[in-house]
């Protein structure tokens, strides 16, 4: 579904400083309906990789290939959820979710139907008329997920979407996202630095090295679905967590 073919990124040095290599050539293939988590220490270039897939950043080498062709820029076939709260503050919850549909010039009635479906899906019925500033961080990210899904993208890209949330809310959001994925199995690429999150959500976890980032390990997560929060304390979960902790710890030491 997504072919990342030797994608590398170097940021030019500002004012005569030497350029920064953020990403060594990365080769990665994401199958349809797969949920791939990308785990790495901060500053490892995992967000840069995701932004290149989204078309928001350009690779200095290599390319990203989708079934529709190579990525040349952002498009509605790749929905994105950001770590920062990016709801349009002047639009209501319903209008935010309908943003992409309006851009497609979908008729109003059809739009309303899709909005209602996704409002329900993220559990925000009754909040359709609220503005983002009236919502908690968790609710805002739920709207952001609904907004991306309403466009029916082929791929859903998530860049540490729960990074700014408190622990309890984060757990609930993980369960919500997992449930949504279990329902329609969209292809997902999920960037995080949280080991537990990477295991709990993913069907495959790609571990990246410290800057400059490259793929260090590619670990299948064979845990059965549907997954419930209790899984986080199960022995097989713990075993995976231990293994990934070892992998990521070395990198974190390098990065720190």
């Amino acid at each position: 579904m997504i072919e990342i073919e030797g994608v590398a990124r170097t940021f030019p040095g500002a004012r005569g400083r030497s350029p920064t290599r953020a990403l060594e050539p990365v080769r990665l293939s994401v199958a349809r309906n797969d949920f791939v988590t990308i785990l790495g220490p901060s500053g490892c270039g995992k967000s840069t990789l995701l932004r290149i897939v989204a078309g928001l950043d350009e690779a200095t080498e290599g390319q990203v290939r989708l079934p529709s062709g190579p990525v040349t820029g952002p498009g509605p076939d790749r929905g994105m959820v950001f770590q920062s709260y990016t709801l349009f503050p002047w639009l209501t919850v319903a209008e935010n979710i309908a943003f992409g549909l309006r851009e497609k010039r979908m008729p109003k009635a059809e739009r309303a139907e899709i909005v209602a479906f996704y409002v329900d899906k993220v559990g925000l019925r009754g909040f359709e008329g609220h503005h983002p500033r009236q919502l908690s961080g968790g609710m805002q990210q739920r709207v952001a997920i609904a907004r991306a899904l309403a466009n029916d993208p082929a791929v859903l890209l998530l860049d540490e979407p729960f990074g700014a949330l408190d622990n309890q809310t984060r757990s609930l959001m993980q369960e919500l996202l997992l449930k949504i994925w279990e329902d329609d199995r969209k292809t997902v690429l999920f960037v995080t630095h949280d080991i537990e999150e990477a295991i709990f959500l993913g069907s495959r976890c790609v571990v990246m090295t410290a800057r400059p980032g490259r793929v260090k390990a590619d670990i299948p997560i064979g845990l059965p679905h549907p997954r419930l929060y209790k899984l986080k304390t199960a022995p097989e979960f713990m075993a995976l967590k231990e293994r990934l902790t070892e992998e990521i710890r070395e990198e974190a030491i390098k990065a720190a």
């Binding site: 790749r78 990016t86 503050p89 851009e103 500033r133 991306a148």
Partner: protein, 286 residues
């Protein structure tokens, strides 16, 4: 013996606490960034007006200043009443208000779209920004002789003074507001399939709209200074014209009344503008 000691002790403790109580209340109110209660705000705000008029009355009634140079508050009010009843001052006010809003609206119609274009499209900004930055420092009042030459002393000239004074300021500030739109909102719009035009229409403009409205409110305040300057020279009506006439007659009461009227109208339009912005852009208020 015991009772006396107790009394002495009590006296000493009250002596210690009593004077600190009012001082601590004042100190609490004066803590940095501590909000004042609404009653306190209104009370203190009015208090300064009272103080101001009191000092003025003291200076004039007390004979510290000759009435030749400064009328007392009472005379000022009397002259003001005469202005309305005898000299058709309401017409002057109407003309001045129309000039301010006319020039201001013209400037807004030209400047807001240009500012949006400059903020959104960097080549347009590179093309216009240096000139506009230069032009904004050209004093509008210095154009008056030239404008009289070009447009005569009619309404066109008055509107043009305000237009020149306002248009460059609005352009630059609007461009700044639009250019400062959060990048992540723009990126989110692109990932939702927005076109370039869609990003301008559906992200940049609505995101900057509250700031644009605030900019217009600010510049409207400046327009009031330009209009009076324009009316001081080559004018046959308006508040500024009345002030020049009164100067010739040494009627300081009328001059002060005119100045105060300008202040009051400015305050009213500013408050109305602020209230309108708050209603239109409720989403932007935290």
């Amino acid at each position: 013996m015991k009772a006396r000691r107790a009394r002495a002790l009590r006296a000493r403790t009250t002596a210690m606490t009593a004077p600190t109580a009012p001082r601590s209340a004042l100190r609490r109110a004066m803590r940095p960034l501590r909000p004042a209660s609404p009653a306190m705000r209104v009370g203190l705000g009015l208090a300064f007006f009272v103080l101001f008029v009191a000092l003025w009355a003291l200076a004039t009634f007390g004979g510290l200043v000759s009435p030749f140079f400064l009328a007392d508050p009472f005379t000022m009010l009397q002259e003001g009443w005469l202005l309305f009843t005898r000299f058709g001052f309401i017409g002057d006010i109407g003309i001045t208000v129309w000039r301010v809003f006319g020039g201001f609206i013209l400037a807004g119609l030209v400047a807001v779209p240009l500012g949006i274009l400059m903020g959104a499209y960097k080549p347009v900004e590179a093309f216009l920004e240096p000139f506009v930055s230069f032009a904004r420092y050209l004093p509008a009042s210095a154009f008056i002789p030239l404008l009289i030459l070009w447009a005569g002393i009619g309404e066109t000239q008055k509107l043009l003074v305000i237009f020149i004074g306002a248009v460059f300021q609005i352009i630059l500030m609007v461009a700044g507001a639009v250019g400062g739109t959060r990048r992540d909102l723009v990126e989110a719009a692109y990932t939702l399939g927005a076109t370039d035009g869609g990003v301008v229409r559906r992200v940049l403009i609505p995101a900057a709209a509250p700031q644009i409205a605030e900019i217009l409110r600010l510049v409207l305040g400046w327009a009031w200074t330009y209009v009076i300057v324009a009316e001081l020279i080559g004018s046959s009506a308006g508040i500024g014209h009345m002030i020049v006439d009164s100067q010739a007659l040494l009627n300081t009461g009328q001059i002060i009344f005119g100045i105060i009227v300008i202040g009051v109208i400015g305050l009213i339009s500013d408050t109305a503008f602020k209230a309108l912005n708050r209603r239109l852009f409720a989403w932007s208020l935290a």
